[in-house]
């Protein structure tokens, strides 16, 4: 059987699941961030494969925008983490519970 849309989508889903697992399981903020990137990439892969198999470039345009926004998001997020680290001396989710009552 030839490789088709389903195969790519399966890979995308699995990658998404891995990212999700990292977000929920890992406790280092930076690793959580990387896991988020994984999830974004999984979405990118799904979009590109849709684009390819539907003969429509709009999906790729969307991926282009996602990559751009992801870059901006990472820059801001990392700056926040650094600022947070300066204040708390920790980059660990379980130390960031000051919103708790």
């Amino acid at each position: 059987m030839h490789v088709g849309l389903e195969h790519y989508l399966t890979v995308s889903f699995l990658l998404f699941g891995l990212g999700l697992l990292g977000v929920i399981m890992r406790r280092n903020l930076l690793v959580i961030y990387m896991s988020l990137e994984l999830m974004l990439n999984a979405a990118n892969l799904a979009l590109v494969s849709f684009s390819r198999f539907n003969n429509n470039l709009n999906g790729q345009i969307l991926v282009f925008f996602i990559i751009t926004v992801a870059a901006a998001e990472v820059a801001v997020g990392l700056a926040l983490i650094v600022a947070l680290y300066r204040k708390r001396q920790s980059a660990h989710v379980e130390d960031l519970t000051s919103m708790k009552l």
Partner: protein, 622 residues
């Protein structure tokens, strides 16, 4: 030129002044005072300009702006402009203006000078609102505003416990009357479907029986408001206590304007009052007049004597309204405003000179030291006593004439007797305080008050003399009984004699009796000889017939008991059972839900994902 904007300007200028003083100029005493005085004097001038341009019955009688509409209830914010309101406008701004100017001198040493003028302006605004209101809702709102500002002014020296108590008493007693008033308003609205005076009047003119059986009840409920505001029996107790406020306040609120609101309101809604109601009103007025006059005889505080005389005169006015005579009532109201303001300001001048001494038995022989005060106070006394040709003579006589013409001889005799008592207590006051020997050191070293206080006295004195013959009565008559021929000056000078000579003669006889009795008893008295002669009656008079004590023992006790029961119900049944259960439930569930908020990002992510999974299951997975 119609100058339609002028009434609005007159109404809102004092509010602007009050707001401006409160917001910006509290620190600048003189500026504040000038703002306030400027607002009211400008209002007076503008009123004159408006009347000059449009006459007493402006063609555009009402100017209206829609205020709010709730279902079938349309409330306008409108101004009613006719002879009644325009004349009141002049009185409020004119007499009020004189009092404002006088206050500039009287209050000069006070720490809260600016605050005083802010309150005065607010009060003026409220009073003008009552005068100009063209519907019940508007009237009621300004009515309450008057209550609030009178509370503020009576309690102006709030650091004195007695002033605070007096303010609260005035406010609460007024609330009792207002409760009835509001019920009356609602009843009128429920029965007639409108609150606009003009509309109501047209409806009643078209069909006098439209109110049906409720007419008397509605009228009496509305009268309740007047009872409270104009301090009629049985709600008269607040007015004498309200003398705790500064003297200009007494002059402004309790002589010239606020208490007049009740009478004014009765005249405004005269068309709603039927014969039964009028009967009740007349007798309550007459009884109040007699009661207050009796109490005044045995008071020693100069301001309290004047306060009870005010009560008595208000009783007169209400009685006149009850005798279907709005014109005499308003006439007396106007002249009374002149001479009572004059008397209060004179009293204030004396008190000021005596360094806040108010007991008349500590004064004496003031005519040399304070000539302006002496002579103007004398004029005020003569006018109040109804000595011809002073203004009080004409107005009081027109009321007695009204009683005669209605054939109500009982009330006529009562009125005449009260007139005699009035002359008695006023000359008692005059003899003791101004003549005779100085009774204390302080009385020997008094000085005349400054010009800023003396000039309002002079101006008011002039009006107290000529107030009866300058056409005030005719102006009111043009409103209430149109078609009567206008009289010339000469005619109006001798009008009482031509109109009801019997009344004049009887009235003058009583007044003369009162005067001579006072002269005989108090000419050189060092202490009051009356208690020995009257015994128990005098003690009762001195204690105001024990009304306060009576209320204390009955109403306040009963109120305390009801309050205690309600408190128990509120605390244990409402609060404890109903609210407690709800609150406890909320609290408990809140505490339970709080456990969900762990503050841990990943718990949230986990729950979030589970939620997404549920949604996805319903969208995709089925």
């Amino acid at each position: 030129m119609k100058l339609e904007l002028l009434p609005w300007l007159i109404l809102f200028l004092p509010l602007l002044a009050a707001g401006g003083i409160t917001l910006f100029t509290l620190r600048y005493r003189t500026v504040s005072a000038l703002l306030s005085i400027g607002a009211i004097v400008t209002g007076f001038v503008l009123s004159l300009v408006f009347i000059n341009a449009n006459g007493w019955q402006p063609s555009s009688a009402e100017s209206i702006a829609n205020w709010l509409t709730i279902g079938g209830l349309h409330v306008d914010f409108g101004l009613k402009l006719d002879a009644l309101s325009l004349m009141m406008l002049l009185i409020v701004t004119g007499v009020g203006g004189a009092i404002h100017i006088y206050s500039f001198g009287y209050m000069h040493a006070d720490r809260s000078f600016s605050r005083f003028f802010a309150f005065m302006s607010l009060f003026t605004f409220s009073m003008l609102g009552i005068v100009l209101a063209n519907n019940f809702i508007e009237l009621f709102i300004f009515w309450e505003l008057v209550g609030v500002s009178s509370y503020l002014l009576i309690g102006f020296w709030f650091e004195k416990p007695s002033a605070g108590d007096a303010a609260k008493k005035a406010f609460i007693v007024n609330r009792l009357g207002d409760f009835g008033f509001l019920l009356g308003i609602l009843m009128v609205w429920g029965l007639l479907g409108s609150l606009n005076f003009t509309v109501l009047q047209n409806k009643l003119t078209a069909d006098p029986a439209v109110l049906g059986g409720m007419a008397t009840v509605a009228a009496l409920l509305l009268f309740c408001g007047a009872v409270g505001k104009s301090a009629q029996f049985p709600l008269h107790v607040w007015l004498p206590d309200a003398m705790e406020g500064p003297t200009p306040v007494s002059a402004l609120i309790h002589a010239a304007t606020m208490v007049a609101a009740g009478v004014y309101m009765l005249c405004r809604i005269l068309f709603l009052l039927n014969a039964d109601a009028l009967h009740v009103i007349a007798w309550i007025g007459g009884f109040t007049a007699l009661l207050a006059a009796l109490i005044a005889v045995q008071q020693n505080d100069i301001k309290r004597i004047l306060a009870y005389s005010t009560l008595s005169q208000l009783g007169y006015m209400v009685m006149s309204v009850g005798l279907a005579g709005p014109t005499p009532a308003m006439f007396h109201l106007t002249t009374h405003a002149f001479f009572k303001a004059l008397l209060f300001l004179g009293a204030g001048s004396v008190i000021h000179a005596m360094h806040d001494e108010q007991d008349i038995w500590k004064m004496g022989r003031l005519q040399k030291k304070m000539p302006v005060t002496f002579w103007t106070f004398l004029i005020g006394t003569l006018a109040l006593s109804g000595v011809p040709p002073f203004s009080g003579f004409y107005s009081k006589d027109s009321i007695l004439g009204q009683a005669l013409s209605q054939g109500n001889y009982a009330l006529f005799i009562l009125g005449a007797a009260v007139a005699g008592l009035t002359a008695f207590y006023m000359f008692r006051l005059f003899y003791v305080a101004f003549l005779g020997k100085p009774k204390t050191q302080a009385a020997e070293h008094v000085h005349e008050s400054p010009a800023v206080m003396a000039w309002p006295l002079r101006v008011l004195a002039v009006f107290a003399v000529i107030g009866g013959v300058i056409g005030v009565s005719q102006t009111y008559a043009s409103q209430f009984s149109p078609g009567e021929a206008r009289e010339s000056f000469g005619q109006s000078l001798v009008e009482p004699l031509t109109h009801s000579p019997a009344g004049v003669l009887v009235g003058l006889a009583f007044i003369a009796a009162g005067f001579f009795a006072a002269r005989a008893l108090y000419r050189d008295a060092a202490s009051d000889p009356l208690p020995e002669k009257l015994g128990g009656l005098a003690t009762a008079m001195k204690h105001k017939f024990y009304f306060d004590e009576l209320y204390e023992a009955t109403f306040i006790r009963a109120h305390d008991f009801i309050a205690a029961v309600m408190d128990w119900i509120d605390r244990w049944l409402v609060e404890g059972l109903c609210i407690g259960l709800v609150r406890g439930g909320t609290d408990l569930s809140g505490r339970a839900l709080r456990l969900v908020q762990t503050g841990n990002l990943q718990t949230y992510a986990f729950l979030f994902v589970l939620g997404v999974a549920v949604v996805m299951y319903f969208v995709l997975g089925k």
